[in-house]
Amino acid sequence: MSTELTFRQYQDGLADHIFLGLRCDTCGSCTVPPQKVCRNCGGSDLQVEELEKSGFIRTFTVIRVAAEGMNPPFVVAMVETSSGAWVMGNLIDIDPDDANMALIGRKVAIGSHLVKGDVYACGDIHSLRFTLLD
């Protein structure tokens, strides 16, 4: 049985501080952000699951020349979630000038914040944000 998790449902979850993903009945992988099929095996038997809101920084950058309408500098990071999926978000509780290679491997908590859509975007979006743990 296929269970759908739409962009809107995922967004509503983040607004309520719930991090939703999809668990594959076929291979066991977790897919987040949501899509119709498993990111690993392409299977379509997926169950909606509330995910643990933590992970580890795998890489990052400090954006200093940004797109119009943004306020650099800010840190973008890719985090491997506890469920195995990777997600992109902003690391917020660090001065961007203090960001360095020691961040890679650090444990973070995963939350979200509302990013106001610009003239090109289709509305505002709850985007992931990370805060350092331990």
Partner: protein, 390 residues
């Protein structure tokens, strides 16, 4: 399957231009047709690349206008391609496949872009539109940012300190500017030093200004023809011996971005079809949108093992005279990067190299060349292997 060949090739100067996209494409397209000893009426289809015309000029549906601007026959359909930075290479590969499959005998393929005309803030925003709009773009990720994350991960994964990696990355920029200084159509035609790269403005840590290719205006086009017809039209048609293209999802699905998996799949297709190996390639134009991008490419194209391509430029192995000459045109870094035209300009360089017409930047005795173009955040890769003689 029939064999395809490249006839005439052409590019405008890359850089900052007052010309419109249609004027730029007309310059390149008509030159490519003339160099093929053909007339516009002989072209049976136009595969036209453009990514951001809507933002550059408020222009959508540019293909039929480009078609009319160069006098193609009404029965020759014009189709627009958009695969981010790999746009023109994908258009050319589609032309090759249509010719191989017998649908057409002669196709014009290429592209145009006015990336510089947008200015940096809008260009940065529109380039970021090629990241995933719901789950990546809202973070403010930029294209330099994507490759900056790849550079940091590369440093971490292979245990090469960032300071050491950055010196080797600077050597990639120095090498490509050295080549670009020999290319009269390059956006940047002056040499630079490692010190200059390392003292540049930080764009996205750890990439500095001269680690990044410029936003450029320009166009390029090539004529693809069935091989027998090509031999009757031109003394030195350049044969297509292998092609490949692969697709991957957003970065969060790709995960380890030091491995461009779409490239590994695409280039294997091309090598297998050609019956060639990386060691057979004499000259390569590859996708150095950022210095780290060249390192990732020389590894996934098979010239170096993973984690060992980072100092190839430092050792002079990818410079003119080296064992595998990479980006003799100056690459995206120095030649420039009008994204919808870039792939056709790479093909133009390889074809000129294989014809022995590359002047000061000629790779001695080049017989087999590889084109590598990457689109978006590693989501599209298209490869072409071209060969002089049968």
């Amino acid at each position: 399957m029939r064999k395809a060949a490249i006839l005439g090739v052409a590019m405008t100067p890359f850089g900052i231009s007052d010309k419109t996209n249609l004027e730029l494409f007309s310059d390149a397209g008509l030159d490519a047709i003339v160099h093929s000893n053909l007339e516009p009426g002989d072209i049976q289809a136009l595969f036209f690349g453009n990514c951001l015309g809507a933002f550059e000029e408020g222009q959508l549906h540019m293909a039929p206008f480009a078609h009319s601007a160069i006098g193609l026959s009404m029965s020759a359909p014009a189709v627009r391609f958009e695969c981010a930075c790999a746009t023109a290479t994908v258009a050319i590969r589609q032309a090759i496949q249509m010719v191989q499959g017998g649908m057409y005998d002669v196709v014009l393929a290429g592209g145009t872009e006015r990336a510089a005309a947008m200015g940096t803030p809008l260009a940065t925003r529109t380039f970021a539109m090629a990241s995933q709009a719901q789950y990546e773009t809202p973070t403010g990720i930029t294209f330099p940012g994507v490759f900056a994350m790849a550079a940091n991960l590369y440093s971490y994964k292979y245990g090469i300190s960032l300071d050491e990696l950055k010196r080797h990355l600077a050597e990639v920029a120095v090498k490509n500017h050295f080549h670009g200084a020999k290319n009269p159509k390059a956006h940047f035609q002056k040499e630079i030093t490692v010190e200059k790269v390392l003292s540049g403005m930080m764009v996205a840590d750890p990439l500095q200004l001269l680690d990044c290719c410029p936003f450029s205006d320009g166009a390029a086009a090539v004529v693809v023809a069935e091989a027998d017809k090509a031999r009757n039209l031109m003394k030195k048609p350049i044969y297509v011996v292998g092609t490949g293209q692969a697709s991957a999802g957003p970065l969060y699905v790709q995960q380890d971005l030091t491995r461009v998996k779409a490239r590994e799949v695409a280039v294997k297709m091309a090598y297998d079809e050609a019956g060639l190996t990386p060691g057979d390639i004499d000259v390569c134009e590859l996708h150095d949108c950022f210095t780290i991008a060249e390192v990732l490419a020389v590894e996934s194209l098979g010239f170096y093992p993973f984690g060992q391509g980072y100092d190839a430029a430092t050792r002079g192995e990818t410079r003119l005279g080296g064992k595998i000459v990479v980006n003799p045109s100056g690459g995206l870094k120095a030649k420039g990067h009008p994204i919808g035209a870039t792939g056709a300009a790479q093909v133009t360089e390889i074809v000129e190299q294989l014809r022995g017409e590359a002047g000061e930047r000629q790779v001695d005795g080049a017989k087999i060349g590889l084109v590598d173009t990457l689109g978006g955040d590693l989501g599209t890769v298209c490869n072409l292997i071209l060969r002089e003689g049968k």
